[in-house]
């Protein structure tokens, strides 16, 4: 984009029935905009018109070559012009393992638009594993379970290629299970603790899809009036108040992502 485009249109009238002996006037059109070239006769006697367009500023255009014949302009040639930039380096590559769908989804920022047809692929180090081709220009790709080696480091990166070059993101070296997002736990019961009356005891179950993972969980609560949630350590509650509780969990090693908050559980502390 912005560079100069040159084109030429050649007519050998002797090989073009109907143009023989006529005076040939070659004209140009860029999409629908008329343009004039410089026309001269070549050594072989053909009429040649050269066109130069400096600072070409369209991403796509059609360049038409015309000659007038029987009073009407005849389209005799066309060239399609694609202009753009080499691909920019994809940034902020992150991946997340979905334990219920058993797949790894990676996302990235594509950077500036190269304006040219580009081939974007999410690459995985093990050759035997096929590249992940994002659908229709999306900036994320989901690697199915059969292409994953769980509990082993995998080298993952994004490659973008267009007519003017290739760009690659930083490489991520991750074990899919270290970037797992756990499914939310389920609250089973909440009761007041007999002697510490401002405390509650909570029973919950972790999600079956992550029951094999050692997890740490957080509890939050709010009353209807509260604007937001408060994280709690099971104590400090008011009496006779209607609270709504939720819990979420994460790997004990703090690797990977917090699960979503569990479905809410309402509980009224006693008077």
């Amino acid at each position: 984009m912005g560079s100069t485009v040159t084109a030429s249109c050649t007519i050998q009238s002797n090989r073009c029935g109907g143009l023989d002996g006529e005076e040939i006037q070659i004209t140009w059109r860029l999409d629908s905009e008329s343009m004039s070239g410089s026309q001269h006769k070549s050594v072989e006697g053909a009429e040649v018109s050269n066109l130069t367009i400096s600072h070409f500023n369209r991403t796509r255009a059609k360049l038409w070559c015309y000659v007038v014949w029987n009073g009407t302009p005849q389209r005799i040639g066309m060239a399609e012009i694609h202009a753009g930039y080499p691909p920019s380096k994809p940034e902020n590559l992150t991946c997340m393992m979905n334990l219920s769908k058993n797949s790894l989804t990676c996302r990235w920022d594509p950077g500036l638009d190269g304006h040219l047809p580009a081939r974007v692929t999410l690459k995985i180090s093990q050759e035997v594993i096929p590249d992940c081709i994002p659908q229709g220009g999306q900036n994320y790709c989901t690697i199915p379970r059969r292409s994953l080696q769980l509990y082993q480091k995998m080298d993952i990166w994004v490659s973008v290629q267009n007519a003017l070059g290739t760009a690659e993101s930083e490489h991520l070296c991750i074990d899919p299970m270290d970037v797992a997002k756990l499914d939310p736990p389920v609250l089973k019961s909440i009761q007041s603790v007999p002697f510490q009356t401002d405390c509650v005891s909570v029973a919950w179950e972790v999600a079956p899809t992550s029951s094999h993972i050692e997890q740490q969980c957080e509890l939050r609560y709010r009353t209807h009036e509260d604007p937001g949630w408060t994280l709690t350590h099971h104590c400090g509650f008011l009496f006779g108040t209607d609270y709504r509780f939720q819990m979420r969990c994460r790997r004990v090693t703090a690797m990977g992502y917090w699960s979503e908050w569990s479905p809410g559980w309402n509980f009224i502390t006693h008077e």
Binding site: Q149, Y151, Q152
Partner: protein
């Protein structure tokens, strides 16, 4: 040579990952056993002791994992046993066609874990990665002629594999700090 490793940080991480993966696989095996019970009405092992004798389905050996002083050979036996059960589980694909994706996922996890153990033994270098010659016919299943033999065989394979995983868990847990 294993004694030097037990304090090694990489080795401990390798163990934690394997323990978690075995727990996951054990959970998946329990799910498939549940399906065999509801779909094929085969639910408890006591009723199949006689046919188990008749079919003669071999269990993958873990004798090296029972001793107090942990042997590298135990890792090799776990790795090889996982491959054996990976093969045996193919029978479950025939028995539970409506649940093939679950059995496929289980087989994929089993083969991943076996590869991981092999890879980690190589990465740690010191571990003796010898492959023990398998007893005759250990890999292959006996020919199962009738539908009943196949269904009972599938049940027995899952029961054997569950015991195999429990023994492996105990052995590896023994090594964690």
């Amino acid at each position: 040579p294993l004694a030097e490793f037990s304090g090694d940080q990489d080795f401990q991480q390798f163990l934690q990952k394997d323990l978690e993966y075995i727990r996951k696989i054990k959970g998946d095996v329990a799910q498939v056993q549940e399906l065999v019970c509801t779909t094929l009405q085969l639910c408890n092992e006591e009723e199949l002791m006689l046919v188990k004798q008749k079919l003669g389905i071999s269990q993958a050996p873990l004798d090296q994992c029972h001793s107090k002083t942990f042997q590298d050979a135990c890792f090799s036996q776990i790795r090889d046993g996982l491959q054996i059960y990976h093969g045996h589980l193919a029978l479950l694909l025939q028995l539970l066609p409506a649940h093939s994706s679950l059995v496929d996922a289980l087989q994929l996890d089993v083969s991943n874990l076996s590869t991981n153990i092999q890879q980690q033994m190589e990465d740690l270098g010191g571990l003796n990665t010898v492959t023990y010659p398998k007893a005759e016919g250990q890999d292959t299943l006996p020919s199962l002629s009738s539908d009943f033999d196949k269904q009972a065989g599938g049940f027995i394979i899952l029961a054997n594999f569950k015991r195999f995983l429990e023994t492996s868990l105990r052995a590896l847990r023994h090594l964690t700090l």
